[in-house]
Structure formats: structure tokens, C-alpha cells
Symmetry: C2
Subunit: 442 residues, 2 copies
Amino acid sequence: MAIRLAERRYIAELLQNAKIGEKYVVAGWVDTIRVHGKLVFIVLRDRTGKMQLVVKKNVSETAWREAKKLSPESVIGARGTLVESKAALGGREIVVEELVVYSRAEPLPIDIKDPSKTTLAKRLDWRFLDLRHPRNQLIFLVEAEMARAAREFFHSNGFVEIYTSKIVGAATEGGAEVFSIVYFDRPAFLAQSPQLYKQMGVIAGFEKVFEVGPAFRAEPHHTTRHLTEYTSVDFEMGFIDSYEDVMKVAENAVLSMIRSALGRYKDRVQEYFSDALMEVPRSIPRITIREAYKLLRSAGVSIEEGEDLSSEAERKLGEIVLKEYGSPLVFVTEYPWKVRPFYTMRKSDEPDWTYSFDLLFRGLEIATGGQREHRYEVLVNQLQEKGLNPKNFEWYLAMFRYGAPPHGGAGIGLERVVMQFLGLGNIREARLLPRDPERLVP
Amino acid sequence: MAIRLAERRYIAELLQNAKIGEKYVVAGWVDTIRVHGKLVFIVLRDRTGKMQLVVKKNVSETAWREAKKLSPESVIGARGTLVESKAALGGREIVVEELVVYSRAEPLPIDIKDPSKTTLAKRLDWRFLDLRHPRNQLIFLVEAEMARAAREFFHSNGFVEIYTSKIVGAATEGGAEVFSIVYFDRPAFLAQSPQLYKQMGVIAGFEKVFEVGPAFRAEPHHTTRHLTEYTSVDFEMGFIDSYEDVMKVAENAVLSMIRSALGRYKDRVQEYFSDALMEVPRSIPRITIREAYKLLRSAGVSIEEGEDLSSEAERKLGEIVLKEYGSPLVFVTEYPWKVRPFYTMRKSDEPDWTYSFDLLFRGLEIATGGQREHRYEVLVNQLQEKGLNPKNFEWYLAMFRYGAPPHGGAGIGLERVVMQFLGLGNIREARLLPRDPERLVP
């Protein structure tokens, strides 16, 4: 009971730099346990790795009695001497002199050593156990690193991080895919994106803003690439010459996310997600959607001029571009006006097409953006053309009557970047606590 | 129309480092405009500052004709020669050769030069204009910097940033102050805090996690310090010896937030919020709530043993501590069990009191935290003692049956830190898009 956790050292450190013969404190979860008469072998796991502890009856009988009763996944602390050991993983082990049991584990409801033995649904029911597998934990280390890299990129390029409200008075993008809230005695909604508010950030004079926060879509569909709640990496920038300026920022943001994840976790990614490794390109090819139609038709995909790309078409296009351009990423530009939201700027010479883009990564849309219409009269017309009621957008439209610079931006789906980078089969794996039409718990 | 915004330089740069006699592109908002016959003087404002442009009829008649028609807050771009000028602010001005008007502003609905002339409610109705005043913009630069500093602090101390779901199946903390959602055909709620999920992060094996994200409270009260949606800086850490470990992290996080904001914006803060400037203490005094009762009673405040501190008592305590300890910040510890949530760990020797704390900054609670109960049986008892139904916490309670380390954490209210740091009278000023029982728009 005399163990002070303040003295605790991480396992990775003990396996690498610590002195043989010295005493150390370790703590973590019991990964495995073997009882051999007067010896108990424990493999201890902490967030940095695994190492063996040996509890010997003749060193501490108290510790040995405790150790014999331990179950896998119990949480313990131990103090003992670091020694060399050919039999132990890492070539070192700790001979335990004191042992404290913080938490005893019951027999586990799922096999956490081999996630493939459990359905994804059940793994998600037991998410806190599922994540004890290093493969599953790694997904979120990669995700955190990618978000960190994105933020660092935006900060160092002069973007101001903003925190906009997720409770909104009107549906952002129109459409039915919005969750309703009971807001005291009134109806309200959950923000489908910070779109209108990040534009406000620009027009209010911050000029360049970004936000990393939740976005909510009441999509009733069950697919492997949709969530009802996800993390959106959004940015918006004023004083642009064209939407190419926006693409350049999106390109550099996404490439720096991938580069940082590889830089920090390459070895571990290689161990669990070998398909993930990639040469990070210096730039991303851009093709217009009309070029994409042609490429798809040449590959035998039937697609109408002016149609949006189906997920099947996106997947196919990803394959073609990988083959033709050698790039796992591609910008598809100039989407048809009829499939883009009201605030999109239309091409000045061809108003059926827009200054907009999607970014595909291995055949899946991971980002979408473009230049926004900042001319008041044009914007009002576009809103009406989309069948929306200007009354519901009063505060938004007002912004364009008091000085709005040309601007544009994009939204990047964090979980989708992680999913495509690691080659996960289902986006639920890339979300700590996924939400879909059936799942609200944990 | 030949202006390329890619060549645009920020005003602060032109006032400091740019070469006299060279041509530059600037862009921004028309701050003021004066027409003097063949000369038009424009003060241009961008995110970095203000400078004068002179449009002379004899340099460009086209530009001069455009300039004469300009209104304040219109958005323009200009190209011209940088010259010295004793009359201009900053001692320099640009003689305009080309002028582009991107957006014409109508007469403004509020006075943005002097925010004190407009009620806060009306300022918030016109938030995008209100923020054009450098004082109001600065609030959010400080906020962004504080959040950045907090993240950097947590990253560099080995915390993993997580993104938990804000749509939840059951009310986190119990109680009535929760918003309901229509989640397809079922009821759901908005997370009041990431409390249970950040504990999951620890127990799942990340050991140390943090999150900066929205928290939702259906507080029907109108006060100057409550919002129904705010940004919560939350952290949680495993393998602690006591809640002192948690306080140390909270202390260093908050001090680094303040230190970073001062480091980056001291001069501008001084200009607009002169009361804000402070010596950042090296550490924060800790007093038990029972000591606080005594101090308050000595100061003539009537308060019962075992009561929570009212906002009035907090304010008074802040004054006393500033006088007695010379600190604007103070930890109040060992809150009574009856005013803390079910997951709080009670003192082993005095179970009516807890291993918990609030952090007060200039007499207002800005953070709350403590050690959590990680022993399954104790936790179930505490939950029942608080009148909650274990059925609603099934997944949460399960976490404590399969190995949970001793742990604790805290939540810091970002807007409150900003409010108290800058000495704002109302927390709505520190929220880009405040939400209260009446306000849903913009």
C-alpha cells in the first residue's frame, strides 16, 4: 500500500532507458497471468506497451498471494527491481516486492485479444473493452494526431479558431436531415454544419476562421460511411481570388494531417493497418466533374451529364485516378449547380456549373467546399431558386448587405479521413461513440 | 479589376516593414471616408489594423469616381504606392491607382464605432457588425488563444484529445437541466458534459484524455454567468494518488491559458480591458470549504455548514482571498457530498465531505473537478443514494467491473475564464453566438 503512483514509470521507458538493478513503480492492466507454483508471471499493459512482472513467493509472500488471485484486465500497481530476462518480452522484467490491486476484473464479456471474433455491433456495445486492444486504440491516436495537425496548420496560417453554436434556430442547409430539439417552449435544431456561422466569422472581420466540432445529420440510412454525429474540420477564408485558393488550403490541411499521422505512428500503423502506408503526394490532381464523367464513361460506368457522383462512381473514379495519375487523392471540381447548396457561387460563364469541389480519398468524399456567393441580390435569387424561404435566413442574408468580402471554405470529415487512411471497412470504427439510427448507447 | 488578392499585404505589415515608394495591394473594410473635392481619404481596416488610402482624381479618375460613392463598411481592394504622410495614422498612406469594390454597405443599423451606445441584446442581434469593433474582436482572439494554450498544455503532457458524442441516450448528470432531442423515433438528450465518456477514455486504456467541445444545459435562469451552450475544456486522468494530482493539472492548464493570452495580446488587452492585466501567480492557494465557511462568517456572511457556496458567497470569498493571499484564483476543496454528483469520491475518513474542488477566478467558479469513485459497489450505492436509477447507467457502471484505475478530472468553462480574465460584465460577450432561454438567433 506504500506505492506512490507519482513515481510510476511508463513501460516503454523501462524497456528502453531505465537502469537494470534499480527499483521502479509500474501500473496498468493485467494483460495475461500464469501461475507456476511459487512464481506468478504477469504481463502488465499500460498505454505505452507491455512487460513482464514476476511475483515470487520468496521475495514477497503477501504480493504472491494477491497475484495468484488476479484476473485478466484487473488494474494493479507494483514496485520492484528491474532485471534482465531472456524469457521476457523486451528482455527485461520486474521482480515484484509490493503489489496493489486497484480494481478486480470479472470474466470479460468479449474476447479483447482478437477483435475479429466479435461483431462490430457487440464491440461497440463494449467499447471501453474493445479499445483495450492496441489496434483499436491506435485508430484514435491517429485521429487525435490528425486533428492536432489540422489545427496547427490553420493556426500557423493565420486562421482563428471559433466555437459556434450547435443549437440553431433554423436548419442550416435546408432539407429534412436535421434533428429537432425542444428548446424550452420552442422548436430548435442541431447544426448540420457551421457553414453559415463560419461565413459570419469571415464577414465579421476575422477574415480567416476554422472550427473543429460536432456536426449532426439525421440520415436515416444505414451505410458504412455515414454517422448521425461526426467531427467536422471546417474552415472559411475571405479575400480570395477564386476557389483555387480554397482548394490549396484544403489540400495542405489534408496532406499535413496524413503526413503528421505517418510521422508519429508509422511503425504502429504498419503493424496493424499495412494497407494504410502511402507516399504522401506533394499535390493533389484537380479534374472537373465533366472530365470525371468522361473518365467514368470510358470505364463503362453509365452516368448522366449534370448528375452528382454516386458513391459507386466515386469509388470507381478513385481507382481510375490512382491508375492514371498515381494519386490516392483527387479534387473533382465545378459540380453542377443543381446538386450544390444555395450559397455556392456559380461559374460566371457557365451558370449551370459552380466554383465548388469535392475531395476524394481512395474513392470516398472526405471534404467538400468552394467559393460562396457574396453578392446579396444573386444570393437571394439562388436561395429562392432552391425553394428555400428567405424569411428563415434573415440574419444570414443581412450579412451580405453591410460589406462581405469574396470568400470560400470547406469542411473535412475527420472520421472519413481516418477511415480512408487506415483502410477501415466501416466509419463506426473511426468514431469513439458512433451514433446511427439504432445506436445511442454507450 | 486587375487586382490580384493573392498579392494582398496586411496593413500592420505595410505600416511596419514595407518599402516606401513600392506598389502594394491592400483590401478590407472602409472604416471611414472623407471626400475633399479632388481627393478622397479612406481609412481602410483589415484584421491587423487601419491605414489611410488617398484617392486622387489626377492619379486615377476611375478610382476617384468609385471612391466618392463608397459607404462605410463597404469591402474594397486597392493597389497603389506606399508613401510617407505626417497627417495619416501610422505616418504612411497609400496613393491609390486602382480600386475594386467587392461589396457595398448600406447604412448600418447599429453604431459600431461605440459599442456602449447599443444594448447588448441588439449588439448580439447584429453580431457580425458588433464584432467589427477591435475590442469585441479581441475577446475572441483571446478565447482562441486560451483554447490553443490549453490544448498545447494537454498534448505536451501526454493527454489524448477525444471527440465524444453530444447526442446521448440518458441524461449525464441526472437532473432536469437537459435538452431533449427527437432521435428518429426515440427520445435522446444533449450531453450536459462529457463526464461519463471521458471516464470511459481513461478506463478504456488511454489513461489521460481531454476534450474541448460544446456542453448543453437547459438552465431556464437568466443570469450574467450562464449560457445554455458553452465550451467545456475537460480532462480526465488515471493512476492518480489523490485529487491533488488533478488540481495540479487544472492549475497548470488555467495558468498557461492566462499566461498565453497575456503573452500574445497584452498590449491590445491593455488598451481595451485595462482591469484585466494581472501578475500570473505561480501557484493557486487551496482552502477547504470548511475554511471558506469560516472566512465568510468572519466577513459577516451568514452561511450554513454543509451548504454549497452561492454566487454571492463565491464573489465575497474571491475578495477575501485576494486580500489575504494576494491571489485572484483559489481552489476551494472538500465540498459536501450532498451538493456533489454521484460519481464524486467521498473522503475516506469523513464521508460527508468529498475529494472534490471548485476553482474560483475573481470570485466566479471557472472549473470544477475531483477524484471519481472507481470502486463498483461504492459507486452503485452512491448512485442510489442520489436517487438515480442504476438501469439508466448500465453501460457506465459496467466499466467499473472490468478494471478501472483510480482517476479524476475537471471541467473548465472556457467562456468563464475569458469573462473573468477580461473583466466582462456578461458571459454573453464571451460567446460568439450566445444561447439563453430567449436567444436562438443568429
